[in-house]
């Protein structure tokens, strides 16, 4: 049995790693996040929620003016 020289094996490993552009679980996480973000952006808000959004902004503005 011949022992592999780690020095010689390194370039091959490095090349292999360089070729792996994406980690699958990470890619899936990104896709899931993108889906969530886009559905979040397209989510339809009820008037009550819209009022809350604006009320909190208007309160912040009123506070900043003081």
């Amino acid at each position: 049995m011949t022992e592999r020289d780690p020095e010689k094996a390194a370039p091959a490993t490095a090349m292999m790693i360089a070729e792996v552009r994406y980690d699958l679980p990470e890619l899936l996480r990104e896709i899931e996040q993108e889906r969530r973000d886009s559905s979040f952006a397209m989510e339809t808000l009820e008037q009550v929620e819209i009022r809350k959004l604006f009320a909190s902004r208007n309160r912040r503005h009123a506070r900043d003016k003081k």
């Binding site: 397209m42 989510e43 009820e46 819209i50 604006f54 208007n58 003016k65």
Partner: protein, 133 residues
């Protein structure tokens, strides 16, 4: 006290402007101004300095967000309420970021629209209010 200020209604659809005209009459006796597009709206805003603007989002040429930004550039204290059938978070947050004071869905019942508008009008600083320290 009935509201007697000026309200500028900006919508490309005549029936919507007519409906809004009827709604705002519930505030008192406002002077109602109407514009059908961005260019007209900006000209009218500069000439009349309305107390409140009701602005649609979906319009030809300049859309509501562009008009909102242009009005606020003219007058950073402008009170602009978006009144639109679009109710997605992205559009709402964009309007919020640009500086709209409110956002009302067009499918909101007339009485509720009136209640919202009443709140915007009563939130306006009155000339007699003491200056903030």
């Amino acid at each position: 006290m009935p509201f007697t200020g000026k309200i500028l209604l900006i919508d490309d659809e005549a029936h919507v402007r007519k409906f809004l005209g009827l709604v705002v009459r519930g505030l008192g006796s406002p002077v109602t101004l109407e514009a059908t597009n961005g260019e007209e709206a900006l000209r009218m805003y500069a000439a009349e300095s309305p107390d409140l603007v009701l602005l649609d989002v979906n319009m030809p040429m300049m859309n509501g967000l562009q008009i909102l930004a242009a009005i606020l550039q003219q007058d950073p204290k402008a009170q602009v309420v978006m009144l639109t059938s679009l109710a997605n978070r992205q559009t709402i947050e964009d309007c919020l970021k640009i500086g709209a004071v409110g956002y009302i869905r067009k499918d909101t019942p007339k009485e509720a629209i009136l209640a919202e508008l009443t709140a915007y009008i009563s939130d306006e600083p009155k000339p007699a209010d003491p200056p903030a320290s």
